[in-house]
Amino acid sequence: MTFAALRRFHSWRHGRPFSAGLLTIVAGVEILLAPVIGVGLIIQTGFAGQLGFLLGIVLIGLGLLFWTVPTHRAFTALFTIAVALAAFLTTNLGGFLVGHLLALTGAATGIAWMPAPDTEDTREQAPRPDGDTPR
């Protein structure tokens, strides 16, 4: 990989809540795979397994939303929390707690993320009257 490509990735990564999306995607994959992890066996897993599959895919989608639509990160985070709680109740305690906790951490990271001061994303914030105050 060239330096320019690394730099492009770097600026792409810093233009969006990257770790929030990554954590949420990993959570989705974990919840999806929890019924079969480590056993090399895939058989019918019933309602909980099917719902785990569905909620896992939804979490992966929400993780991608963190990356593609960073301006809506608060909504994405709220949905992520809701889906994580649903997975907790319906599928193996949300992948034996691991996927659940990953998704909650991802959502919190998404809500806490603030864009760099002079990207266009800051326009949604009302400018402070005392412009130079550290945020």
């Binding site: 090399g40 066996l41 895939i42 897993t45 019933g46 309602f47 599928t91 909650l104 945020r135």
Partner: protein
Amino acid sequence: MPLKYQGRNAGHLPRASLRWGRFAATLAASLTVTGALLVAISQGTLAASFAVSGRDMKVSANRIEGNGYVTYPAVVTSADGRKHPVTVVAVNAGRVWGLCQSSQIATPLGRFVLRLSSPAQAGSVRVSDLRLSATSVSADLNFGKLQINRDAASLDAVPGVVGALGDDGLQAIGFTVENVKARSWAVISGSLQAQGTRLAIGRTEPECF
């Protein structure tokens, strides 16, 4: 950590930042809800659903009482394409005393034992749509309205659970089984409501039997 605004011409790349206060508040709020759900599940107010499959799974129970019991032979196919004969045991709705389910999980860090147990003295666990794909089952049986050697495809004691046409099936409307010990490929529970359920993962965690 809030980053000092360095200005467009400060010679630094603008960096996104995390507001750690918000992070902590969001995480704390959602973990509080999780904790409340855990309490509700362990007290039996809420039902948790489980789907686990594994070659080393062991299921045991002191006593199971319920209605709608079906068993028939089936074949499961593992991911490597091999076929394994199993006995499907399905329970429509019932109560379980002393339920224990343990499985060994191979991880890059070694083998861990995952155990889900509800001690007999904690009362009974309500289960619905419980299904095992068992390789061996031992139990003391007491069936009411028992039908043996019924075609597996025509079983109707547990809605939606039927075997292949021509296989031997067994079903019972009411049943009590005691000292159940089963090795199983998969345990599927539509819902499981338990008091005092304990979920433990660890290297030194004992298996159910």
